[in-house]
C-alpha cells in the first residue's frame, strides 16, 4: 500500500512536472473560427494567425464553417474551444446576432473573444473587434468614383453588385459607405436597396464570385444599358462584371470600383479592369488577435479599441493608379506588395 502510494505520488509529481515544463506560453490555447475555408481572405487570415501563434508559442486550433452562413458549425467550434480550455477565441461570425449567446458562454468561462473582420451585433458582445472599417472602405471608393466623374456625377447611372439577399453586415456597410461617399442620401443605413436616388439603377446579388458578378451585371444592364458606375462587393464580382461589360462592348465607358485588396484584384486595378479598390489587411487582423489573446492569458489585459471607434481599426487603403486630389491612395505597385491571397 505504501509502495503504491509513493509510486502514485511519483507519477503525479512527474505528470505535474511534465505539464508544468512547457508551461507558460505553450499552455496558452487559442482558437480561430472563420466563415469558410474556401475564401482566400479567410485562408490568409488563418495563415497570419498560424504564423503569429508559432512565433509566440501559442497552440492554435482552427475551425471553419462549410459555407458562408454555416452558423451551426461555428457554434460547435466555440463549444469545443471552451471545452478544450483555450484562453481566447477569434471569430469571423457567419450570423453576427445569433452567435451572441454562445459567445457569452465563452466569456463567462473566462475566454477572451475577439471578433475579426465582421463585428458582432451588438458590437460589444465581443471583448474586442479587429476589423477593417468597411463603411470607410466603401466611402473611399465612393468618393473616388464621384471625383473621377467630376461634374457628371450628378447624372451617374449606378449599378450596385451586392453580396447576398440576406444582407450580412459587411455587405451592407460597404454598400452604404460607397453611396455616402458618392454623395447619395441613405435611407436606413442598416439596409441596402431602400434608397430612392434615381441615379441608382438597381441592386443585384453576386455571392461574391465571378459567375454571380457577371450575371448580376447582365441583369442590371437589361434594366438600364447606360450604367456607367459599378459598385462591387469584392474583386471576383468585379472581374465577372467586367466580362459582362466587355460582352456589351462598354468596358471602356464604365467605372468599376471594389473592395478587398487581394493580389488578383490589385492586378486587375493595374490592368484597368477595376478603377480603384479599397484594400484591407486580414493577416494583420489575425496576428493582432493572437497577440491580444497572449496578453490576456498572461496579464489579464483586454485590447483597447482605436480612439473614437468601437473597434480596433486594422486600416484600409485606396489602391488606384488614377489618384484623385484630396483622397489619400496608394498605387498598384505598393498595393501589390501589401496584397493578400
Amino acid at each position: 500500500m505504501r509502495i503504491l502510494d509513493s509510486k502514485t505520488a511519483i507519477a503525479i509529481a512527474l505528470l505535474g512536472a511534465g505539464a508544468a515544463m512547457p508551461a507558460a506560453a505553450a499552455d496558452i490555447g487559442a482558437c480561430l473560427i472563420t466563415k469558410t475555408d474556401i475564401n482566400p481572405f479567410f485562408v490568409k487570415m488563418k495563415e497570419g494567425a498560424t504564423a503569429k501563434a508559432e512565433e509566440l508559442g501559442i497552440i492554435l486550433s482552427t475551425y471553419a464553417g462549410k459555407v458562408d452562413g454555416d452558423h451551426e458549425t461555428q457554434v460547435q467550434a466555440i463549444e469545443t474551444c471552451i471545452a478544450s480550455g483555450a484562453k481566447g477565441i477569434m471569430i469571423t461570425a457567419s450570423d453576427t446576432a445569433a452567435i451572441v449567446p454562445v459567445v457569452e458562454q465563452a466569456r463567462e468561462a473566462g475566454l477572451l473573444v475577439i471578433a475579426l473582420d465582421t463585428p458582432l451585433e451588438p458590437i460589444d458582445s465581443a471583448d474586442a473587434t479587429f476589423a477593417t472599417d468597411n463603411f470607410k472602405a466603401g466611402e473611399l471608393i465612393g468618393q473616388w468614383a464621384a471625383a473621377q466623374l467630376g461634374d457628371k456625377a450628378g447624372e451617374a447611372k449606378i449599378a450596385m453588385l451586392d453580396l447576398s439577399a440576406s444582407q450580412p453586415s459587411v455587405g451592407v456597410l460597404r454598400d452604404q459607405g460607397f453611396l455616402q461617399g458618392f454623395g447619395i442620401e441613405l435611407n436606413d443605413p442598416k439596409r441596402w436597396g431602400d434608397e430612392t436616388d434615381p441615379r441608382i439603377i438597381g441592386n443585384d446579388v453576386t455571392a461574391g464570385n465571378e459567375e454571380g458578378g457577371r450575371r448580376a451585371m447582365e441583369n442590371l444592364m437589361q434594366k438600364d444599358p447606360e450604367v456607367n458606375v459599378v459598385y462591387t462587393i469584392n474583386e471576383p464580382a468585379a472581374a465577372g462584371a467586367y466580362e459582362a461589360l466587355k460582352a456589351f462592348g462598354r468596358e471602356d465607358e464604365v467605372l468599376i470600383v471594389s473592395i478587398d485588396g487581394g493580389c488578383p484584384g490589385v492586378a486587375n486595378v493595374a490592368d484597368g479592369v477595376i478603377g480603384a479598390t479599397a484594400q484591407q489587411y486580414p493577416l494583420l487582423m489575425a496576428s493582432k488577435g493572437v497577440e491580444a489573446i497572449k496578453a490576456w492569458a498572461e496579464s489579464g489585459v483586454k485590447p483597447e479599441p482605436t480612439p473614437g471607434l468601437d473597434f480596433f481599426n486594422t486600416g484600409v487603403s485606396l489602391v488606384t493608379d488614377k489618384p484623385v486630389e484630396g483622397i489619400e491612395s496608394i498605387d498598384t505597385k505598393e498595393g501589390g506588395e501589401r496584397c493578400w491571397g
Binding site: 475555408d37 474556401i38 475564401n39 482566400p40 485562408v43 459555407v67 439577399a165 436597396g193 438597381g202 441592386n203 443585384d204 446579388v205 455571392a207 461574391g208 464570385n209 465571378e210 459567375e211 454571380g212 457577371r214 450575371r215 447582365e218 441583369n219 442590371l220 437589361q222 434594366k223 471576383p236 472581374a239 465577372g240 467586367y242 466580362e243 466587355k246 460582352a247 488578383p264 492586378a267 486587375n268 490592368d271 479592369v273 491571397g341
Partner: protein, 359 residues
C-alpha cells in the same frame, strides 16, 4: 410504360402517340372528363408541361416586365445565362432517369475547369492537352460515383453527397481557392474561353457555348430515344429488378451513365471558363441544386424511369425567364428565390398528379 416514355420525346413519334391517345379516348369517352384527357396527354408527353409553363411565363413577363424583357437580345441573354446549368441539367437528367441523383455534378465541373485552367495557364501545358485533361477529370469523377453506386451498392444520394464534399475539397486544395484571371487566360491560353465567343443573329446574341449545349441535348435526346442504351436507361430507372431479369447488365449500364454525366460536366467545365471569363473555384457553388431544380421543373420524375431530356432544357429556361423577368420588373432578389421554390413544388405536384393516371 418504357416505350411510351421513350416515344414521348420524339417529335415524329409524338404525333403517333397523340393520335392513338385520341382514339383510345373516343373509345371510352363517356367515362372521362376533359381534365382526364389533359392528364392522359401530359402523361404521355412529359416535356409538354415545361413547354407550356415556359410559354405562359414568357407571355406573363412580357405583360409584367414590358418591352425590355421581350427583346430578342434579352431572350438570347437568358439562354446565355442558363447555358452552364443546362449542361449540368442534361447530365443530371441521365442520372435521375435511372432513379439516382448527382449532388456532386457541379463540383466535378468546377474541378475539371480548375485542372484544365491550371494546367494551361499556370503550368504551361498546351491547351490542346490541358482541355482534354479536364474531360478526363470529369469522366473519372463520374466513374468514381458510378463505381461506388454499383460496387458498394450505396444509394446515389449518399455517394454523391460524399463525393460532392470530396471533389469540392480537391477544388479548393488544387486551386488554393484562387481564381485564374481573365487577362492571364487571354495571354496564355485563349482557347479556354472559345465558347464564350458570341455571334449575333438579328438582335439576338448567342455564345458558341449555347449552341454546344443545344447540340449536346440533341445528341443525348437521340441516344435516349433511338438506341438500346437509351431504352435501358429508362428500363433500369423504372424497375431495376425487371431490367436485370430481362437481361440488362444494370451495373455496367449505371456505370456508363455516371461516366457520361461526368464527361458532360467536363465539357461544361470548358464552356464555363468562357462564360465566367476566369477559372473561378468559388463560382457555381449552388449549381448542383440548380441542375436538380431544372430537371424537376422539366418534368423528370425523381423516382426514375419517367421524363424527358428536353424537359430539363425547358426547366433551365423557365428558371432563367423567372430570374430575368422578376429582375427587370424590379422585384427584390429574395422573391426570385420564393418564386422558384413555388415552381419546384408546382412541378412535383403536376408529376404526382400525372402518375395517378397509370394507377
Amino acid at each position: 410504360m418504357v416505350d411510351s416514355n421513350r416515344s414521348a420525346d420524339s417529335g415524329a413519334e409524338a404525333g403517333l402517340v397523340k393520335a392513338s391517345a385520341d382514339t383510345v379516348a373516343e373509345f371510352d369517352a363517356d367515362k372521362k372528363t376533359a381534365l382526364q384527357h389533359i392528364q392522359h396527354f401530359l402523361h404521355g408527353n412529359p416535356a409538354m408541361v415545361p413547354v407550356i409553363i415556359l410559354f405562359v411565363s414568357v407571355v406573363a413577363f412580357r405583360l409584367i416586365a414590358g418591352e425590355r424583357f421581350f427583346t430578342a437580345f434579352n431572350l438570347s441573354l437568358i439562354i446565355q445565362q442558363v447555358t452552364i446549368i443546362g449542361f449540368l441539367a442534361c447530365a443530371q437528367t441521365l442520372i435521375v432517369l435511372t432513379a439516382g441523383i448527382d449532388l456532386s455534378i457541379a463540383a466535378i465541373m468546377v474541378l475539371a475547369s480548375v485542372v484544365a485552367g491550371k494546367f494551361a495557364v499556370i503550368l504551361g501545358v498546351p491547351s490542346i492537352i490541358a482541355i482534354p485533361c479536364g474531360f478526363v477529370v470529369g469522366t473519372l469523377g463520374g466513374l468514381v460515383n458510378g463505381l461506388l453506386v454499383t460496387r458498394l451498392r450505396l444509394p446515389p444520394f449518399i455517394v454523391t453527397l460524399g463525393t460532392w464534399n470530396i471533389f469540392f475539397a480537391l477544388v479548393i486544395w488544387y486551386s488554393g481557392s484562387q481564381s485564374i484571371r481573365s487577362q492571364d487566360i487571354d495571354k496564355i491560353a485563349p482557347v479556354l474561353k472559345i465558347f464564350g465567343e458570341r455571334v449575333s443573329i438579328g438582335g439576338a446574341v448567342f455564345t458558341y457555348g449555347s449552341f454546344l449545349m443545344v447540340g449536346v441535348f440533341l445528341v443525348i435526346w437521340y441516344v435516349l430515344n433511338n438506341t438500346a442504351w437509351g431504352r435501358h436507361v429508362y428500363a433500369v430507372g423504372d424497375d431495376k429488378e425487371a431490367a436485370e431479369l430481362s437481361g440488362i447488365n444494370t451495373n455496367r449500364l449505371l456505370l456508363s451513365v455516371y461516366g457520361v454525366a461526368g464527361f458532360i460536366a467536363g465539357i461544361a467545365a470548358w464552356v464555363s471558363i468562357g462564360r465566367v471569363g476566369s477559372v473561378s473555384p468559388q463560382s457555381f457553388y449552388d449549381a448542383n441544386l440548380d441542375s436538380i431544380t431544372a430537371v424537376v421543373i422539366g418534368g423528370t420524375s425523381l423516382f426514375g424511369g419517367r421524363g424527358s431530356i428536353l424537359g430539363a432544357l425547358f426547366g433551365a429556361l423557365i428558371v432563367g425567364v423567372f430570374s430575368s423577368g422578376l429582375k427587370i420588373a424590379g422585384v427584390d432578389v429574395i422573391w426570385q428565390r420564393f418564386a422558384i421554390g413555388c415552381l419546384i413544388i408546382l412541378a412535383v405536384g403536376i408529376d404526382q398528379w400525372l402518375r395517378r393516371v397509370s394507377a
